[in-house]
């Protein structure tokens, strides 16, 4: 792959639609994010944010429209396929297995094995898990603890560490801050800023805290009832404007 001068979109969705039975979760979505850019995706519950993320990560396939990855049209067949291209995701439900220890969750479906006998390389995975967690700076007492014993915020931190440590080209974060305390949330935001400054990764961040979004994102898209109704650079908008936009809808729909 050639250098793209940082201008090219890492991922672009064109006219993407997705329905679940009668529910039109996404309608004619156009969205793109560049290298070194953090795109904030906001919207009410049920607006379709997670569905969009799941399309970008190959978990769902779009009914209509297409995706371009690094300029090339692509059909993401599966999460594994997307991962192989460098698309990493923190799912809203975190995709953690409570019965497995931290280090195995950190390597879920990317386990390290010996050759030729494909036995797990537990020691190496533990080492890397510790390294990944330390590099983020979140304090997890033990990489061998079962994830079910950890707090919600710690679990989120692990999910973020898992996706960041994979050296992705495209990082999709579906409400990674929801259960985090102020300190841990701050750490994750700082981490995102660092990744942004490094300039080699594109990030889509879903969050309900608009001030965090305006702070860390370069651009904000608003998703309402499956459509993108707003696309502005963060410096051209404000928390107040975003709140106004979201509330305006309800003021309108309050009118009989």
């Amino acid at each position: 792959m050639t250098e793209q001068n940082g201008i090219q979109d890492v991922v672009r969705a064109e006219h993407v639609s997705k329905s679940f039975g009668p529910v039109n979760a996404l309608e004619d979505i156009n969205l793109s994010v560049r290298k070194g850019e953090v795109l904030g995706l906001i919207g009410d519950n049920g607006a379709g944010k997670s569905t969009l993320i799941k399309i970008l990560t190959g978990f769902h396939q779009p009914d209509e429209g297409r995706l371009l990855f690094e300029g090339e049209p692509i059909e993401l067949r599966s999460v594994t396929h997307a991962r192989s291209l460098g698309i990493e995701t923190v799912f809203q439900d975190l995709a953690m297995v409570n019965d497995l220890p931290v280090y195995l969750n950190l390597h879920l479906n990317a386990e390290l094995v010996h050759k030729p006998l494909p036995f797990l390389r537990r020691r190496e995975m533990k080492r890397r898990a510790r390294e990944a967690l330390d590099s983020i700076g979140i304090d997890i007492p033990s990489v061998t603890a079962e994830v079910g014993q950890l707090s919600g915020g710690q679990r989120q931190a692990i999910a973020v560490a898992r996706s960041v440590y994979a050296e992705a080209k495209l990082l999709l974060l579906d409400e990674p801050l929801a259960a985090m305390g102020a300190k841990e949330g701050g750490l994750i935001l700082r981490l995102l800023s660092e990744l942004k400054e490094r300039g080699d990764i594109a990030i889509i961040l879903i969050a309900h805290n608009y001030s965090q979004v305006v702070d860390v994102c370069d651009r904000v898209n608003l998703l309402q009832h499956g459509k993108i109704t707003f696309d502005k650079r963060s410096k051209d908008t404000s928390v107040a404007e975003l709140l106004e936009l979201v509330h305006a809808e309800y003021r309108l729909s309050d009118v009989p």
């Binding site: 439900d93 995709a95 297995v97 019965d99 280090y103 879920l108 386990e111 533990k126 080492r127």
Partner: protein
């Protein structure tokens, strides 16, 4: 970069390697480490039962009797080895006992049609694998709960066994090295059971497929989001238990010297489930061990045999079995809580 925040645990931070490799951590007493071994409680109970029957019944400690116990436990352990994997996937196979029943008759069918005994055996076992695949496909692609799927399959297979056998036993083939290897010679059934348990425990705890199995049962959606092909994992595990069940049925038929259409069935299947549950596997998915199930089968075998020797009726055995399952379940839950409390990390956040 963000060192300032982590400096809280600075004493440990300096030696991350030591920290991760000695995960149990320093300063945890020996006995607490032992409690973490899930199989320990069942092992102790098994030993206690062995001692009890050694003392109370004369013939218990003899090579002959050990062999009897082995004959009880081998089929349970073999089927349980597959059932544990399936239970960890949060699925169950109620048809395994009837695969056990049917397999020898498939073998006879192949054998009578001119196939050499060994190939007839392989063919019969592969047919059983196919039955498991069908179970798995119905479960995953038609989305029918495994309880219903395999219940239907159980009756279907029972009917087929009775039809192709005309309801009466046939004598097993003899005079072949195949007979000796697969059930005929003295300890062969037990050896097969131990090999299968060892292989399955290794797969469960040391390979990616084991992780996938736990992930599929522990968090189906999360596993799928991680890219694990959960349907495939389930289908494979359905295929594995059917394969083992058929194999166990053939081993037993050859050992006894006759294939009986009233062998196996729900009884055998539920003993395997009981062995798994007593050995620490829950029905909720996500956790369990094959070695535990082997110990569970051993315990059941010892008690069954001990009761026979001391002249206690089979009815009383069922009472004990029922209590054992309930106690094991309760103990399992309680031990898990205890284990977690002891190993629970000191929260530093």
């Amino acid at each position: 970069m963000t060192r300032a925040v982590t400096s809280k645990g600075s004493g440990r931070k300096d030696q991350p390697d030591q920290r991760s490799e000695h995960a149990r951590g320093p300063g945890i007493p020996f006995w607490q480490g032992l409690i973490r071994i899930k199989e320990l409680s069942i092992l102790l109970v098994t030993i206690a039962a062995g001692i009890y029957f050694s003392v109370t019944s004369v013939g218990f400690n003899s090579a002959e009797n050990y062999q009897t116990i082995a004959q009880y436990l081998a089929p349970w352990a073999i089927i349980a080895a597959g059932q544990v994997m399936l239970l960890i996937c949060a699925e169950i196979d109620l048809s395994a006992g009837f695969v056990f029943t049917l397999a020898p008759f498939i073998l006879i069918l192949f054998y009578n049609n001119g196939l050499p005994l060994f190939l007839a055996l392989v063919g019969a076992v592969l047919m059983c694998t196919g039955i498991g695949v069908i179970n798995g496909l119905i479960r995953t692609w038609l989305n029918i709960p495994s309880f219903i799927t395999t219940l239907g399959m159980a009756f279907l297979l029972q009917g087929i066994s009775l039809i192709i056998s005309n309801g009466s036993p046939v004598s097993a083939p003899t005079d072949s090295w195949v007979v000796d290897v697969f059930g005929g010679s003295q300890w062969s059934e037990l050896i097969w059971a131990l090999v299968i348990v060892a292989v399955m425990q290794t797969i469960l705890s040391a390979t990616r497929f084991g992780v996938y199995t736990k992930a599929t049962g522990g968090n189906l959606v999360g596993a799928a989001e991680s890219g694990i092909r959960t349907k495939r994992v389930k289908i494979i595990n359905f295929a594995v238990i059917s394969t083992f069940a058929g194999f166990a049925g053939i081993l037993q038929g050859i050992r006894v010297g006759s294939f009986d259409p009233t062998n196996g069935g729900f009884n055998t299947m539920f003993f395997a489930v009981a062995a798994a549950v007593i050995g620490g596997t829950t029905l909720l998915g996500g956790s369990g061990t094959v070695v535990g199930a082997l110990l569970g089968a051993l315990l059941l075998g010892i008690v069954y045999d001990g009761f026979n020797l001391t002249g206690v009726s089979a009815n009383a055995f069922n009472v004990v079995l029922g209590i054992a399952i309930l106690v094991a379940m309760t103990l399992n839950v309680y031990m898990t809580v205890l284990r977690k409390r002891i190993s629970s990390p000191r929260r530093s956040v």
